[in-house]
């Protein structure tokens, strides 16, 4: 039953995708043909003047077809030949100049200008409409996602943990800040360092924008037996300077993990007493109100995450602005 709702949603989404694809295709085709029409008309006009550019060496109709077919390549070639041609000198020049100013060609020029103007206007208008529709689609997708996550209601509780300097921190201490949170452990072979590097990249990227608030990156251990305050202090040094590591008693850590439905399971110990902790790998975004807004898995790139966070910040600002 749950999967039915999902597939229906997906089908609706797919319909929208097809619609946008066809719209983009029509826009591209229109732009391509108006581009060819412009250039073929341009050379048709030039064929009226006696300057022997490529237009006069062959019938203009053939040139039109050739330019329309070959589009940019043929056009550039014609332009190149035009640039290379040298103006005739002396009486020939006067004659040709007067010939080119026939009322016929000026009417064609005017008609060309209006056609060109209309083409450009319509093209720009279509592009603008398409861009606006894309933006709306992104916004709607983001809003739907936030709504879905709100019903899941993660991160509602509080936590009380020790940070890597030995001070006690609770969830209240982080209210008013945007928090990007990761659960891991210091003995992790590659996943946690990679994810924390990604986290540092995202926070640094957002730091570069002075208009955005500074994010607070957090690292909560799922291995409190080994990751004490000193171990965390050694570990977080390798990543973003603002990264705060949090640990505590096994019960406190379990409570924090349960709040975000984090899966963590310690594996068997080997003869050195070393073991791996299998855990879910996600970056959690928490708003300044302490509400869980979004999560990012391993497939998301730093750019995608930064864009998503910028979007969330913008929406959050828009919501809290007085009407």
């Amino acid at each position: 039953m749950f999967s039915n709702a999902l597939t229906e949603n997906k089908r609706k989404h797919e319909k929208y995708e097809i619609f946008y694809f066809i719209f983009s295709l029509m826009l591209f085709t229109f732009s391509f043909f108006s581009y060819c029409t412009f250039f073929s008309l341009f050379f048709h006009f030039l064929s009226y003047s006696p300057y022997p550019i490529c237009a006069s060496r062959e019938p203009s109709a053939m040139l039109r077809v050739r330019c329309t077919l070959r589009g940019g390549g043929g056009v550039l070639l014609c332009l190149h030949r035009t640039a290379q041609y040298r103006y005739p000198s002396g009486p020939e020049r006067v004659l040709t100049r007067s010939l080119s100013r026939t009322p016929d060609s000026s009417r064609v020029a005017l008609k060309l200008q209006t056609r060109l103007g209309v083409t450009l206007l319509v093209g720009v208008g279509l592009l603008g409409a398409w861009w606006w529709v894309e933006q709306e689609k992104q916004q709607r997708r983001q809003r739907q996602r936030v709504e879905q996550l709100r019903t899941v209601a993660l991160g509602q509780g509080t936590f009380s943990l020790l940070d890597h300097t030995g001070h006690r921190r609770t969830k209240q201490d982080f209210l008013g800040r945007w928090v990007l949170l990761y659960f891991g452990f210091t003995h992790c072979p590659d996943i946690c360092p990679d994810e924390l590097d990604k986290l540092s990249t995202v926070v640094s990227a957002l730091d570069r924008d002075p208009a955005l608030p500074r994010l607070q990156p957090l690292f909560i251990t799922v291995d409190p037996e080994r990751d004490d305050v000193a171990a965390l202090a050694r570990y977080v040094r390798d990543f973003h300077p603002r990264l705060v590591g949090l640990t505590g008693t096994p019960e406190e850590v379990r409570h924090a993990g349960r709040d975000f439905r984090v899966y963590a399971s310690a594996g068997p110990k080997d003869e050195d007493g070393d073991y791996m902790v299998d855990h879910s790998v996600l970056l959690y975004l928490v708003s300044p109100d302490g509400l869980f807004l979004d999560y990012y898995n391993r497939t998301k790139s730093p750019e995608q995450i930064a864009d998503s966070i910028r979007n969330h910040i913008r929406n959050h600002r828009n919501k809290s602005r007085p009407v």
């Binding site: 003995h187 072979p189 360092p193 050195d272 070393d274 791996m276």
Partner: protein, 80 residues
Amino acid sequence: MAAPNSAQRKACWDARDQLWQCLDDNNDKIQSCQKFQGDFEANCPAQWVKYFTKRRDFLKYKDKMQREGFTPAEGPQVNS
């Protein structure tokens, strides 16, 4: 035993990458890559050695699935 720091992690990853490169070149024949295997085990904690060995098997399996495809298992049919 303290967790490896950034430099130790990098040393371990480099040794692992060299070992995997050697295995790729030698068609997964572990005998030809004994030197790299030794380096790898020296630079990485035992748990990481086990983890990375399993990871390599998983990555090769995933690659095989993506290249050769698979036949899905016969499971219960869900009425949608």
